[in-house]
Symmetry: C3
């Protein structure tokens, strides 16, 4: 039976203590793409890889063991309902410490904070699709801006595409090597918008060949939880998927997204 | 005619001056259970007793005459639409003084604040059910916590019961005499939660035999207007109604609720 | 063709620089009545006159050239979608400078702020109804109150009329010359409200013959964007339209509304 092999990766016991809002930051980022996910309980920390149901966007999240007050994981994988986990984490204050304990015998995860003890039924990780690693795409162009700038560019793109009635919104990311600028461009039926980042506006910029069109919807999803002052690195190519990465929790949470381009447009 | 006898309790004239937000606090508490209520205009202050339409929860509210700048009541009862009264009170600022005047001839209540004068049609108190006094239940166990703690325990219970699809949420209040703790326990189909108060967490605790199951919905309703730093006293027994009481407006408003247990569960 | 004559008023080039929130204040005021409007690009500033689709209320807005950092207009008229303009203005911060440029050749308005450049398709002004000037109505009674007082009076009127089931809310503005007060009166089926301004409450008051009934809905619309500390001048007569005027942006934006009375009531 397939599950026999799978048992080799069934999770060992797991115990950890961490500030509530660090866990919330992790799961809010993952929740932008999926409602359920697998968590790898590695020596180095928690690792989550997830692809949205339409296969357009993918996230690779790593929360370092160093982000925890105490951390002990014997390896393996557990599956959780992300919405439920976020509900549970909303009960204690963000700065409280939460204690996590996974018992392989009951297949339940106990989340404790103060007198509050929540026993969360886990999801069989076999029922959640295995995701590939994020591919190395050789993207040469790179734009580093803060979360607030990204939010404004996406909002602007959304307004122009709202002037279209017959198609959902698209956004083009384009580097003009000669002018040394990166454009976020969107066109509606009547209006269009160009949000231009030059080397002065951006935190950092690497010029390279880049011109790809994306569905605005996915960028809005993944950008929603990003803090205005987070440093967001965006790598793009020519009709290639984009990679977007940022860190949180003092550099102990690494979030790396891949967003597929629109084709034939 | 029945109304002839009832006339003996028809309200005499009533005049009072009180800060707007004190009245709001009174009616918001009553509004958790009913949309219409009778107000007893007694020498000692305003008294409201009301039972929710399902006969599950009951409130006894007393706003002392000492909470008023001026207070003169000749006895009797008036009926009001609680939602409407709260709308009217939302117009002036909370710290303004409102003047209330009831004229038995017109059966209208005039609410004045600054240049604002609202003439509120009253409801015939005969059309509102007469409620019994809150019974003495001989409840021995008592937990005193602040409003914020109660809110967290109820939120936690709500999350666990959200994992059930086929029944509404229940919550068990249980004292473990040996461990000297009080549990707020909720079970869903897959998850469960236990919010435990020990003598350190609670403001005060009296150990006694207690284990009763309640509908979570009613507790959420009555707890909604409670301030996070209010001191809430909860008395429970074995498969008995619970009593929940707290004070507001510097001890001049007394709110006493009774919530019936779920049976056969 | 009628459009031949109209071409004489087609807009010349237009360029201007102004703080974003000044433009927002202008268009939010106009947006209380219309979704599209014509803008007169005069030497002295921008002028907008608009009537709501039901012909009940009218606004005359003037944003002085002095409100701009730079202003150059060659005359003529352009048509804009007010909702779209407000969306675009929401992208930059309110205190940023926006650069406006109209190119008669493309009939598009480019709005720029920082790296953000939005190209807005304009509406043919011929398709937007030409509005008359605001008439001189010879209104003698005048009440000057602040925006917060107006908001409270309208809220109060709305509560009383909510007690009616069969008609929409009306409000009567009435001067009692003998008592030297101005009443805002509303009557529902059971309740009624009287918000009285005397010479002490009001910032200024001119007694004159005045008693007119209005639809509450239009007053709520036009009052929505008014700041609580704005000085609002209301002029009324006997069964006559009312005029309501206030200034914003340090006196450089003038807003003048006319609201028609209800008749046969």
């Amino acid at each position: 039976m397939a599950t026999t092999d799978a048992d080799t990766e069934a999770a060992e016991g797991f115990e950890a203590i961490i500030q509530v809002d660090a866990l919330e930051t992790l799961f809010e980022a993952v929740n932008t793409l999926v409602d359920e996910c697998k968590i790898n309980l590695t020596d180095g920390g928690l690792e989550i890889t997830a692809v949205d149901p339409s296969n357009v966007a993918m996230v690779d999240a790593e929360l370092d063991a160093a982000a925890f007050e105490a951390y002990q994981a014997g390896g393996g994988v557990i599956g959780v309902n992300v919405d439920r986990v976020l509900d549970v984490l909303s009960v204690p204050d963000g700065e409280e410490l939460a204690q996590l304990a996974y018992d392989p015998a009951t297949r339940k995860l106990v989340i404790q904070a103060g007198g509050f003890e929540y026993t969360l039924a886990l999801i069989d990780p076999e029922t959640i699709r295995q995701e590939p690693d994020l591919p190395d795409l050789g993207l040469e162009a790179r734009l580093v801006i803060d979360g607030g700038q990204l939010d404004r560019a996406l909002t602007a793109a959304g307004i122009a595409t709202a002037s279209s009635s017959h198609k959902s919104g698209h956004m083009r990311l384009q580097v003009d090597a000669e002018a040394a600028v990166c454009h976020v461009v969107a066109e509606g039926d009547t209006d269009d918008v160009d949000y231009t980042f030059d080397t002065g506006d951006a935190i950092d910029m690497t010029i390279g060949p880049a011109d790809s069109m994306f569905s605005l919807e996915y960028w809005n999803d993944v950008a929603t939880p990003i803090d205005d002052d987070a440093r967001v690195s965006i790598r793009i190519g020519e009709e290639m998927p984009a990679r977007m990465a940022y860190s949180a929790i003092d550099g102990r949470l690494h979030l790396d997204y891949m967003i597929s381009p629109r084709v034939g447009q």
